[in-house]
């Protein structure tokens, strides 16, 4: 292996370093939601206590303080990742206690281990992740009995399991909505030495946290679904790709797997079914939104940069290690487990014609009760807002930055694959919020998370952000807006994967749905240069040591 290959991989992930950083890593979640809840004030408190700015390391090498993108805690922001442990609902008043605990830890116990243990987290103030499920529907109504769906599946042939999933009309819950039964059938019939089933728990879309809730509160259902899929595909290997931000779940998930092995729900001849051998391992991500894209996830699992692959070949033919692979969202697998347990008719009795079943919605922002809600497909945005106590919203971002910016005129639209398709993220913004400022933060998010592989996304995301900066500065003209729209559409058409194809959405959809907000910020002139004369002359002024004479004076 060459050093250049190691650097290639390491430099891709936000959680890997090439130079030594602080022994304690404090990463504050930077999202519109965290900012609304006071993340900036918490950051300032940390900065003042440690005497460092964001991105810096203290002189004694004890602390590095930095921003990180959404860590899946939108219902309990401001949140932080500290040495992999999660702190929630932070205020500036919490900061001295956290720093003292970390210093104490440093004196007494040395470096904390990674993934972090619950025992370690107990020593930190605010390391408490509140249960997020607010409203359960048919899918998550308790009691949840381990392995019921699995046992029902094992009583059928694998083909019959796929048939059941197909007739349930289950579609991928990550947002893309690919029919799960078809994915499983394609993977099963592809020839290969091995078949793989991957669970995509790289829940990186800002504003969503329902998969985190499922892994924390319903881990056995997730593993039931993964095992059922393994049986249906003829696979012996299941892998859960867990985003690095959720490393705090590692210990309990491993414990769940151990229990399942001891109960014969994993391993050889599962539940006595001769010849069905299957096991699950967990692999951690390292801070890269793009790895939620299925082909990037595969690359990352293989220990490489998480750049997407070109398709064809599709993962169903050649995926992980070039073998037939199905990748399913956490929620999709839970649906599969419940369909096998409760039957196809039960599942299709909920939802709409094209969107069977229920959907887990992660709600955050300006609402009384943020959290996860299970609702039938077809629910309208205003029904959802009433449910969560967010009726005075002026703007709702459905399906995260890559989704739709919905204005009040469209609150009658419904959550369904055929209308507002969503992975579940729902960010609510009240009348006191600036829609364009939120769109700007989303544009910045895509600049940071573009993988860089292809030109339109790598460069286009930066150009779009610069265009938004000009709008927010009140310097954009009408022609700037039409150019920004054309640029955005080029990025949509020309980018290699879903990230680039959806990165212009926050700008394109706010332009479409809130045109009056853009118009209000326009400069009433036909043209303004991107760079002001003052900025253009800055270097010359510094060299000459004097300001140029202005004509007006």
């Amino acid at each position: 292996m060459h050093p250049v290959e190691v650097i290639e991989m390491v430099s891709f992930y936000a959680f890997f370093d090439q130079t030594p950083r602080g022994r304690n890593r404090i990463r504050l979640s930077k999202t519109p939601i965290s900012m609304m809840n006071g993340a900036r004030e918490v950051a300032e408190a940390f900065g003042q206590s440690l005497g460092i700015a964001m991105g810096e390391t203290s002189l004694d090498g004890m602390f590095t303080l930095e921003w990180t993108n959404d860590i899946g805690m939108a219902d309990q922001e401001p949140a932080a990742l500290v040495n992999g442990m999660i702190l929630t609902s932070l205020t500036p008043l919490d900061v001295p206690g956290i720093i003292a605990a970390l210093r104490h830890e440093e004196d007494g116990l040395g470096l904390s281990s990674y993934p972090p243990t619950a025992a370690q987290a107990l020593k930190l103030p605010k390391s408490n992740v509140r249960p997020s499920l607010i409203q359960a529907g048919p899918l998550l109504t308790r009691p949840v009995v381990r392995a019921r769906g699995l046992k029902a599946a094992l009583a059928m042939t694998p083909e019959k399991v796929i048939e059941e999933i197909t007739s349930s009309k289950l579609r991928g819950r990550g947002g893309a909505g690919f029919p799960t039964g078809m994915k499983w059938r394609l993977t099963r019939k592809s020839a290969g030495k091995e078949h793989y089933i991957l669970c995509n728990a790289d829940e990186g879309e800002p504003g969503t946290f329902k998969d985190r809730m499922l892994l924390a509160e319903f881990p056995d259902l997730v593993f039931d679904g993964l095992t059922i899929a393994g049986y249906a595909l003829g696979s012996q290997h299941g892998i859960l790709y867990l985003r690095g931000e959720y490393a705090y779940l590692w210990e309990t998930l491993q414990e769940t797997l151990r229990t399942r092995r001891s109960l014969g729900l994993l391993g050889a001849n599962i539940c006595g079914r001769q010849g069905f051998d299957f096991d699950i391992r967990i692999q951690l991500g390292a801070g890269a939104y793009i790895c939620g894209e299925e082909s990037s996830l595969i690359e990352s699992l293989e220990g490489k940069r998480g750049s997407p692959r070109d398709r064809p070949p599709f993962p169903t033919e050649r995926g992980y290690l070039q073998q037939p692979t199905a990748i399913d969202n956490v929620e999709t697998l839970i649906c599969a487990a419940r369909i096998l347990e409760k039957g196809v008719a039960w599942f299709t009795s909920y939802g709409t014609k094209e969107s069977a079943g229920t959907k887990l919605i992660s709600v955050s922002g300006d609402c009384a009760r943020p959290g996860v809600y299970e609702v039938p497909f077809g629910v309208t945005v205003s029904e959802l807002l009433d449910l969560v106590g967010g009726a005075d919203a002026i703007y709702v971002q459905v399906s995260g930055p890559s989704g739709h910016s919905v204005a009040p005129k469209d609150f009658g639209r419904s959550i369904a694959y055929e209308d507002l398709s969503t992975g579940g993220s729902t960010m609510v913004f009240g009348p006191q919020r600036d829609v364009l400022d939120v769109a700007m933060q989303f544009a910045e998010f895509f600049v940071e998370e573009s993988c860089g592989w292809c030109t339109p996304c790598r460069v286009g995301t930066t150009l779009l952000k610069q265009g938004m900066e000009k709008v927010l500065a009140g310097r954009a003209t009408l022609s700037d807006l039409s150019e920004m729209e054309a640029l955005g559409q080029t990025v949509v058409r020309m980018s290699r994967c879903g990230l680039g194809q959806s990165a212009p959405n926050p700008i394109l959809t706010t332009m479409r749905n809130f045109p009056e907000l853009y118009e209000a910020r326009l400069a009433a002139v036909p043209f303004t240069p991107l760079v002001t004369l003052h900025d253009a002359l800055r270097e010359a002024v510094a060299v000459q040591g004097r300001e140029p004479l202005s004509e007006e004076t």
Partner: protein, 240 residues
């Protein structure tokens, strides 16, 4: 065994292809030019630049990485695609530092030639003016990172053809850069001027020292005929 052959349609023209060919390979053979930048006929395709994006069966896909298939319907030379490709070329111009008038590759540069072919006058997007350093540590080759367009040709050539892994990417997104396999620069790597990786750069990022300006400006490859003319000539010849 002879690979099966089949036909597809591009801009109304029937093209014959064989199993295993990409769309761009089949079109090259048929004398139909699809603008491209990162693709190199002697290297495996990587789909970095996206200039060869066509509308294939109604979906935008890069022709270099899309296997040709029977009955495909492809749009290539349309005003929309030309405009999108020009925008992508502009992005590459503003992302790096590309002073054509005094660049050593002027007239031999595929980026510049595509700019001309696609009708780019001057970039409409803001220049990013990145600060990048020249690596002159190698006795026979210098790396002018200002010109690098991250096409990955040298990375692929070094790994697949030279068996050396001299080049790689570093960082991600807009901060992504070409990196070499030694902290001290190219001079500390196994790179040699005769390597395939030294001859595939489409711009003036990898430049052989002491060999420049032997062909004067005005007499270089793309000074005489537009980029793609060699491919298009195959079809013209066949028709006449």
């Amino acid at each position: 065994m002879v690979a099966a052959s089949f036909k597809f349609n591009i801009d109304g023209i029937e093209v014959e292809a064989t199993e295993g060919q990409s769309v761009i390979e089949a079109c090259d053979e048929a004398g139909i030019y699809i603008p491209r930048l990162c693709h190199h006929p002697e290297l495996p395709p990587s789909g970095n630049c996206r200039v060869c994006t066509c509308k294939i069966n109604g979906r935008h896909s890069a022709a270099c990485v899309t296997p040709a298939a029977h009955g495909m319907v492809i749009e290539n030379d349309t005003p929309q695609l030309t405009s999108d490709r020009r925008a992508v070329i502009e992005m590459l111009f503003v992302e790096g530092n590309h002073p054509c008038p005094y660049c050593v590759a002027s007239g031999d540069c595929e980026l510049q030639a595509l700019g001309y072919r696609l009708g780019m006058v001057a970039p409409t997007q803001p220049y990013q003016w990145p600060e990048r350093k020249i690596d002159a540590t190698h006795p026979d080759i210098y790396l002018d990172h200002d010109r690098c367009i991250l096409c990955s040709r040298c990375i692929r050539a070094s790994r697949m053809e030279d068996g050396k892994t001299v080049f790689g990417f570093e960082g991600r997104g807009i901060a992504m850069r070409l990196n070499v396999d030694a902290q001290g620069g190219l001079g500390e790597t196994q790179m040699a001027a005769i390597d395939k990786a030294a001859s595939v750069c489409p711009v003036a990022c990898i430049v052989i020292k002491r060999h420049n300006y032997q062909v004067p400006n005005g007499s270089r490859r793309f000074d005489k005929t537009p980029i793609g003319s060699d491919i298009e000539a195959k079809r013209t010849r066949r028709q006449s």
